[in-house]
């Protein structure tokens, strides 16, 4: 996990301020307040899930055997690590409130960027959760299965590209990872 305020937060806050300003110019104070009320109730609704996600991530990073994780998902895990990450992302239940805390926990206990990218991309592209709940009912079974079939190679490719780029733009971090 990270510091509460970073560059990403600042960029997002600026984007939000500009958007809120545009909404105010178009819809006036009422328009701004209407969105605020709606989003505040949404926020209250998801807070318990956020808490559950945080606890899940903390427990998992505590109970996972670090050595095993860095062996099977670390920088030297090779194609197997990318495949394990992909398989893990595909079977992970729940929504974003489970996937991202778990991915973050894996990163913390020794998975490298490549395997974690494979996992996140696999969760979003071939995970069954969203496909069953939303894509099949809305887009139809044929399209969904066909789209998933096309997506099958993508998590491994994304993870491999991630590793390839990572060792080139962060050579020092990568070398330090090697020592571990």
């Amino acid at each position: 996990m990270r510091k509460p305020i970073g560059w990403s937060t600042i960029i997002i806050a600026a984007l939000v301020a500009v958007s809120a300003g545009l909404v105010w110019r178009r819809d006036g104070t009422d328009g701004v307040l209407e969105i605020l009320t709606h989003d505040l109730s949404l926020f209250g609704g998801i807070l318990p899930r956020v808490l559950a996600g945080c606890l899940l991530g903390a427990f998992i990073s505590e109970i996972l055997p670090h050595e095993k994780v860095s062996r099977s998902l670390g920088p030297k895990s090779g194609l197997m690590g990318l495949l394990v990450g992909t398989a893990f992302g595909a079977i992970l239940p729940g929504g974003p409130f489970t996937a991202y805390p778990v991915a973050s926990a894996l990163l913390a206990v020794g998975a490298d960027f490549g395997a974690t990218i494979a996992m996140v991309v696999s969760w979003t592209l071939i995970g069954y959760g969203r496909a069953v709940a939303w894509e099949i009912p809305i887009m139809g079974t044929d399209f969904t299965l066909w789209r998933i079939l096309i997506s099958l190679p993508l998590p491994v490719l994304a993870g491999a590209l991630g590793r390839f780029v990572y060792v080139r733009i962060y050579p020092q971090t990568a070398a330090k990872d090697d020592e571990n």
């Binding site: 996990m1 970073g6 945080c54 505590e62 409130f97 780029v165």
Partner: protein, 166 residues
Amino acid sequence: MSAALLIDILLWGSVFGVGLIAFRRGPPVFKASLREGSMDFINIVPRIALGVIGSGYIAAIIPQEVITGWLGPDSGWLGVATAVVAGAATPGGPVIGFSIGTVALKSGGGVPQVVAYVVAWALFAFQRVILWEIPFMPARFVWFRCAVSVPFPFVAAAIAMVIGKP
């Protein structure tokens, strides 16, 4: 409603399960991870708040018709590129993303373009990135993940062009 309840039961059941495993490793392990999880929660809440409230405003200034318009019958790679931008810019959750994809398919949008749209939406939809991925994951990872994912909606479209329609 019942689906939401099911998700919550599954979620808290998993928390309880891994919590139990941690507890059996000894109460200090359990307490330490409980404290860590709570601290993470406190740190994440402001970012989630910014994400939820902020993405509402960003979504309000992107009319859905604009996104649908970008997914017109413009075929070829320009159409694919437009579809990728549209996927990243689509506000709202899965219902909106997939509905826009369905509308595009029915109104004559090319299949590779719609595949590129759905894949780009899954990879980059700004609301999910702002609301969930950035708060929960190291920022450096999120930007890196997004950057290396850029080619893949195009790869998906290329595969769709080669193997044909569903």
